[in-house]
């Protein structure tokens, strides 16, 4: 796999901790946008992020971030910001210094570092408490100050390990808006999270992991399409649910057509969503049924997670 200057590339990457598997034979490349790493505890999400940022080295394979590797730290870490889930801080530090001094290590002068520190504190909503010792912060504040440090130098690749942990709903919404704004600027945002509803809402693509392996990767809709063992669920709200259900049953690929309690909705389970769409078009054209709404019912990260990893994967 050749490195691309816009992509993040994992080229046959494996990581073993002695005899314990971290991740195995990871191969994928990511375009700019929001990518979510989803998987149960111990599935290898943090290992993948630590590999990506050079905190650990792969046992096999190579990782390229915008064409760079972590062996070129000066260029690499100007492009990469990593908000880890380690809830530890240098002793005695306050919020301002926690951001300011790393910026000085980037080579910024006092004026620039001050400006960038204040901007990061504002963006993370921490400006008011910046001069307080981090040791006195709440969990949510510690999370936000780490986020502020990760974004302070305007990285092109932002890696966030469980960034929504410990945040109240308001801070969570603000953080998500911030990630989306960063992604809109053409940057990479890589998030690991166990809050699947939020992952689903903000992600451009997902990487599903289980036991150190990448189970599926790509845009959520594409990944769902690939899951052939589980027929797709389509919810149709129409004028005559019974007629639609009986027409659907005549198709081989439809495995279930369930009329819901409101009497106007049918939940179709089909192995071929495209063929079902054609049928629906024919029925509507013939004027047999009036369709109000059609929506996929399991075209989300949560369903894909359940199908691919299931309860065997342990708690998410």
């Amino acid at each position: 796999m050749t490195p691309d200057n816009r992509q993040i590339v994992f080229d046959n990457v494996s990581k073993f901790y002695g005899e314990v598997l971290g991740v195995n034979k990871v191969n994928f490349s990511l375009e700019p946008g929001i990518t979510s790493l989803v998987g149960p505890n111990g599935s290898g999400k943090t290992t993948l992020m630590n590999l990506l940022t050079g905190l650990i080295k792969p046992s096999h394979g190579a990782i390229y971030v915008l064409g760079l590797t972590a062996q070129q730290p000066i260029e690499f870490f100007r492009q990469v910001g990593y908000c880890t889930q380690f809830d530890s801080f240098p002793p005695g530090t306050n919020g301002y210094d926690f951001i300011y001094w790393p910026l000085r290590l980037h080579g910024f002068g006092d004026d620039q570092a001050t400006k960038l520190t204040n901007e990061a504190l504002e963006r993370a909503g921490m400006a008011q408490v910046a001069r307080r010792k981090v040791a006195g912060y709440s969990k949510g504040m510690r999370q936000r100050i780490r986020l502020a440090q990760a974004i302070a130098h305007h990285p092109s690749v932002l890696v966030l390990d469980e960034p929504l942990n410990g945040l109240d709903p308001m801070a969570r919404a603000e953080s998500i808006a911030l990630f989306q704004a960063i992604a809109k600027q053409g940057m990479h945002v890589i998030i690991s999270s166990h809050i699947l509803e939020e992952v689903d809402r903000i992600s451009d693509r997902v990487v599903l992991m289980s036991s150190g392996y990448v189970v599926a990767e790509g845009q959520i809709k594409d990944v769902r399409r690939e899951v052939r063992d589980h027929p797709m669920q389509i919810l149709v709200r129409c004028s005559n649910a019974a007629k639609l259900a009986s027409a659907a049953f005549e198709l081989d690929h439809v495995v279930e057509a369930k009329i819901l309690t409101d009497g106007q909705s049918v939940l179709i389970r089909t192995r071929d969503a495209e063929q079902f769409s054609l049928l629906l078009n024919k029925i509507v054209s013939a004027g047999l049924v009036e369709v109000d709404a059609v929506a996929p019912a399991d075209d989300d990260v949560n369903s894909i997670y359940q199908y691919l990893i299931g309860s065997d994967g342990g708690p998410v």
Binding site: I74, F86, S88, G92, L105, F108
Partner: protein
């Protein structure tokens, strides 16, 4: 200038002048590390280790201020030489450097804060040099202050005779030699412990082995003694402390080494160990669960 402009400018400024960037990064590292490691309660035992002889000498000078015999100044000079060479060089500086320099990396690993320094655009070699210099500043400042205090308490109570010994006699030269040797001891032991902390998860056992080596090195052939920090230090000390007890039987007397050679030899040893640390740090991974 906009923030984006500032970022872009900073990213290009140092591209052609990496040494300027390295120097500024080392300055920042030294400043932050000194602030974090010097003025902290965690280092209280190091202060005690450094200042214990000075406190004892201070107490001695207070309690014996009415029984000062100007003729005993030479005896006091030998006592001071023993304190510096046997206590500071073999124990005080050794253990303080073990505490200070091993904490620079391994301690941060234990505190789960090392990743912050691995996620900034700093070459690992620069990180090693910056941290080493910070540790050196801390240990040298502490032990030079302690040696100065020891000198003051030793000679001040002699009044005019003490002043004459210090400024009209060999006192000042001895002080200069001890300050130089103390600084070299801090650099030498510091480099060794920094390397050990990168090589071993628990540097205490190899540290104890090193202490054993430094103690028994005098009974080894001359060439082997060159691998000991105290070998260089003892040739720089202005007052010789006689070796007594069973060790005296086995001690191999080596040819005197010129001060220039001793200083140069110890600095070479320090640089060589530091270069090894620069190599070792590339193997270091941030895996806190393994600590």
């Amino acid at each position: 200038m906009s923030i984006q402009g500032s970022v872009a400018r900073a990213q290009t400024t140092f591209k052609d002048q990496p040494w300027r960037l390295y120097a500024s990064q080392i300055a920042v590292l030294v400043r932050t590390e000194v602030r974090r490691n010097l003025f902290t309660r965690r280092r209280l035992w190091v202060y005690l280790l450094a200042l214990a002889p000075a406190l004892l000498l201070g107490a001695h000078s207070i309690f014996s201020r009415y029984h000062v015999d100007p003729g005993s100044i030479e005896d006091e000079t030998e006592v001071l030489a023993g304190i510096v060479q046997l206590y500071y060089f073999r124990l005080g500086i050794f253990f303080a450097c073990m505490g200070i320099f091993t904490w620079l990396f391994r301690g941060e690993m234990v505190a789960k804060t090392l990743h912050y320094q691995f996620l900034v655009p700093v070459r690992k070699e620069v990180l090693v040099v910056g941290k080493f210099l910070a540790g050196s500043v801390i240990s040298i400042a502490l032990f030079e202050a302690a040696v100065l205090a020891c000198f003051y308490f030793t000679y001040a109570r002699f009044g005019a005779a003490g002043t004459s010994y210090m400024f009209g006699g060999p006192g000042l030269a001895q002080l200069g030699a001890y300050l130089l040797t103390t600084a070299l001891a801090c650099l030498g032991y510091g480099a060794v412990f920094l390397a050990l902390s990168l090589l071993f998860k628990n540097p205490i056992i190899p540290g104890a082995m090193l202490l054993g080596w430094e103690t028994v090195a005098p009974i080894f052939p001359s060439w082997a003694q060159h691998l000991s920090v105290t070998f260089y230090l003892k040739h720089l000390c202005p007052v010789k402390v006689p070796v007594e007890g069973p060790m005296a039987i086995f001690t191999v007397v080596t040819e005197p080494v010129a001060p220039f050679i001793a200083v140069f030899g110890l600095l070479c040893l320090t640089v060589a160990i530091l270069a090894a640390s620069c190599f070792l740090i590339h193997r270091l991974e941030v895996t806190y669960t393994a600590e």
